[in-house]
């Protein structure tokens, strides 16, 4: 005979259950800032395509405003968090081995940081 089973509903605030889930949700939220800033970069590119004057106008009118600087700082914090958590997740996603032994996960994470610095320096050199 089959008895009645008790089903426990998932609470709406399940992501508050522990610190790991809270950090996960923060990472999910950071994706909106990554996507949002990508769109913003496209707008900047569009303005640059309209000529120097249009870009300067955009730069002076929008970019230098207090609200813009405030939003930039928030976006920066979220994008950095997104990048760091992605780097730290690399050893889980990539199975890199030397012979039978997987390489030290710290080495794989460090390689991402090194690449980050290298790419940033190259972009800075090109920009300046």
């Amino acid at each position: 005979m089959k008895t009645k089973e008790y089903v426990r509903p998932m609470p709406a605030n399940w992501f508050m259950h522990n610190r790991h889930l809270q950090l996960f949700m923060l990472r999910e939220l950071s994706a909106f800032f990554v996507a949002g800033y990508s769109v913003f970069l496209l707008v900047m590119l569009y303005k640059a395509g309209q000529g120097e004057q249009a870009f300067q106008q955009f730069f002076e009118g929008v970019m230098k405003s207090g609200l813009s600087i405030f939003l930039h700082l928030i976006a920066l914090a979220f994008v950095v968090y997104h990048a760091l958590t992605s780097f730290n997740a690399a050893p889980v996603i990539m199975d890199v081995r030397i012979g039978e032994d997987p390489i030290d996960p710290r080495l794989l994470i460090a390689a991402h940081y090194v690449m980050w610095v290298v790419v940033s320096v190259v972009i800075l050199i090109v920009a300046l």
């Binding site: 008895t3 008790y6 426990r8 522990n18 790991h20 997740a89 996603i93 199975d95 032994d101």
Partner: protein, 248 residues
């Protein structure tokens, strides 16, 4: 000197008595070397014989004593009272599963998923016993060994919010075990498993929360199995798109 004791708040669900569960408190003797399962056994033997729960090996191998201990999925045979003493310990059945009685969950869904994913060896080529073993090098063994350590305890399902929200999700252990055989050099069943593993209810449902790997008592790291399967599946999709038909 009076004997030290510790309180267990145990989830009770007796369908023949009530549609709603309740929590029942039991005071059990506190011993340094006791685990939560020892305390449950004490309750069963000395206080309340009606308490129902699953257990078997008492040494972290059988995977049957998984329960929520203070809200965390744990093997109760590996959760020491000393880590909680003198605070009370709340013991509940694994979340995300229907409860049959007290601490016993219905695990039909998981067993069905194990079957769906064909978590067994499908030899590339069947050969008679007289031809001997299917040989494998230590290097080939190393590629899947971690995922083969799964004891089907289902703690990862209890920890996974995706499974809680979307019960159709194949889930961490079933995918890790599917990958265990996909990565086995002796196995030839990858194509048979791909339909289910690479489906929207398989790896693509996973949002990489990572709770499955955090709670796994055997360090199987199902999150790794799933993310690597995603990479592999994406690579194969691109290859099938870019390479001419028939090419590998």
């Amino acid at each position: 000197m009076p004997e030290k004791s510790i309180t267990l708040e145990v989830f009770r669900y007796l369908p023949e008595q009530s549609d709603e569960p309740k929590y029942q408190k039991y005071d059990v003797p506190y011993r340094e070397d006791w685990v939560v399962l020892d305390a449950l056994n004490y309750i069963k033997d000395h206080i309340d014989g009606s308490l129902s729960y699953r257990w078997s090996c008492r040494m972290g191998v059988c995977g049957s004593c998984g329960m929520m201990v203070n809200g965390e999925p744990r093997l109760t045979c590996a959760a020491f009272l000393r880590d909680f003493y003198p605070q009370p310990i709340r013991v509940e059945p694994l979340t995300n599963f229907p409860v049959i009685r007290d601490l016993i969950i219905n695990l039909e869904d998981f067993l069905h998923k194990l079957k769906e994913v064909k978590a067994w060896l499908i030899p590339k080529q069947e050969k008679p016993v007289s031809e001997g073993e299917y040989l494998q090098s230590p290097k080939e063994l190393a590629t899947y060994k971690q995922f083969s350590m799964c004891i089907n305890c289902m703690l990862c399902y209890a920890a996974c919010p995706v499974y809680g929200l979307e019960p159709k999700f194949l889930g961490p252990a079933a995918i890790a075990l599917g990958q265990r055989y996909n990565l086995d050099s002796r196995d030839g069943g990858k194509e048979e498993r791909t339909d289910i593993i690479a489906s929207s209810e398989g790896i693509w449902e996973c949002t990489f929360i990572g709770e499955c790997s955090r709670v796994c008592p055997k360090h199987v790291d199902p999150a790794a199995a799933i993310q690597r399967a995603k990479v592999q599946s994406t690579q194969e999709w691109w290859m099938s798109l870019l390479l001419p038909k028939g090419a590998k």
